[in-house]
Symmetry: none
Subunit: 184 residues, 4 copies
DNA sequence: CATGAATGAGGGTTCATTCAT
DNA sequence: GATGAATGAACCCTCATTCAT
């Protein structure tokens, strides 16, 4: 672990703590203590906590996209792809470390989040929306309401995440999946 | 404004600040300053910040339920009721002060919210879920999948709120409404 | 317990808490809460916390003196009396609720204790010193150094209490008793 | 005064205030104000008030031991050594700043002192007990009851301190000294 | 490139007391 | 005789950040 350079150690520690405890609830002191880095070293690598938060979300976005693509792209059938997507979601939230979506959580923490964070959050959400749109469009060739259903699928997807988080139960994911798959 | 008794002034101020800035981001000091109350007076009425947060959410739940019922119950047709529900949602989030759902926000702020807050949040969510269930069941008499659709409608409802919050745009509400209304 | 009048309930509760937690560490709020008395009721009976503390110490002095006299005066032999005195001391500090001497503790809490408390503490100590003096004098008729030994016995007595408190062990009491009894 | 580094300034100030006013009665705010240090600077050097209290007592122990040894060890005769010990005690408590023994006071303040403080207090007391034991044993070679007298001497020593504190008069020290010296 | 010391502002909570009723 | 509401001051501690080295 001490093999990692300081910047990476900081980011890895912050990722764990921000997600498990929340962005606001996690202080710089805890991060540098657990990353075993001096305070000034932290500020040489990240100009502020906000910048670290942005780096965290950016990295989360990359990781999440990769994770999905690696598992979804091998599947050729469009309908199956959507099914796989929700299967993955259920795997994720059945994990003991599941604490909801980092983007939605961070967005909800402060109703007016810092600009740097907001930008990445919106970027992530737009990406996911478009990703779902393509998936559903491909699965519903020629259907007039395909676009609307695609957006609805996206809303169900995100809604399932926060409701699973709120109820601490995966039922919303299965309900959302069944509903969407029923459209094909 | 000084006409209100301190306890009410505190709650009113806290409601405003908790919603606009977030529960965590709002400190006791700011609340008592804006409520023009001494710190010890605050603790005479609320044993802790957490208790105040619980009182706030409880009051929000009551207000929300009343607001909905007053406008939905006069409508007799089941399908119209659902339409009205989403119309109200859109009215709400078109308001400049809209900052998302206080319950979802507070739940997302800290991955492990204080027990007192969690209890009210879950209560509220269960209420809303059952409310939607009744609405949809009544509108879909005899449909086998009525229950699943009802839950899906609930997920779409909540998902629309957080997506409207994230995108700062009401499109998710309209998409969700159209999708649900298409089931009848 | 609710049968007792408020003033007595307050004093009884304060006696328990002051002794178990310390005078300083015990707040008015805890006292009135556990005595089930309103705050203003407290101040109608005691003008201040200091006055309550004084009442507590005065009552402790009375109780302690009575307790000793009832058990020591029936004994006729002077030497036996001293032995009984230390036996009682050991009984006291073997009790699970033993927290040292309320007078010495309160005196040690603030190096400049409030005048009202200081007065009672000194009164108590002077009484105990004279009590020991009489006991030893009677047991050592005609000994020239009787007075000095009496004071030494008093110092050993008090020293044994604080050392038993510090070591959480009754050995100092037995050592003190053996030493004194060896003088006769 | 500003020449001293902050950590030393804090400890020096705390030593003065803890001793003069008591540990509990002295707040962090007063310490940092009189040490002319920012609050966060305090917590850079001491993780808590308790840690500062422990540092204070540890330093007191060192200073006390040094002070005694420097003056007692040059004396060769065992009996004289004990006499010197009590002479030093009397010098100490004739000082206007005398407020009793920091260890006994802190131990008596709260019936259950913080663990960190308790540890040092017990350590100090055990040291002093053993110190007296060696002194008396050496002065009473071959006496069977030497051990018991040594412990009695220790109790008289400590008892003299608290009684001198309580009566605000050095008589207990002289009484204790005469009694012990009479054993040789 | 890396560091520990120093900071002002604020975190939530409790203190002993007074007041109008 | 009894009450709960109201208070300013103080409690111990943590925040994100900057600075000289």
């Amino acid at each position: 672990m001490a093999a990692l350079p300081p910047a990476a150690r900081i980011l890895r520690t912050a990722a764990r703590l921000f997600y498990q405890q929340g962005y606001h609830a996690t202080g710089i002191n805890q991060i540098i203590a657990e990353a075993e880095v001096a305070k000034a070293t932290f500020y040489t690598h990240y100009p502020s906590k906000e910048a670290l938060g942005a780096a965290w979300l950016a990295q989360q976005h990359e990781a999440w996209v990769s994770w999905l693509n690696e598992r979804v792209s091998p599947v050729s059938d469009s309908r199956r792809r959507i099914a796989v997507l929700f299967d993955l979601l259920e795997v994720w939230l059945r994990n003991n470390d599941f604490r909801g979506c980092p983007f939605l959580n961070t967005n909800a923490e402060q109703p007016n989040p810092p600009a740097a964070l907001r930008a990445i959050i919106q970027q992530h959400k737009a990406y996911l929306r478009d990703y779902m749109r393509n998936l559903v469009r491909t699965a519903l060739p020629g259907r007039l309401e395909a676009d609307r259903l695609a957006l609805a699928a996206y809303i169900l997807f995100c809604g399932a995440i926060i409701e699973a988080q709120a109820f601490r139960d995966p039922w919303p994911v299965r309900t959302a999946a069944q509903t969407i798959l029923g459209w094909f």
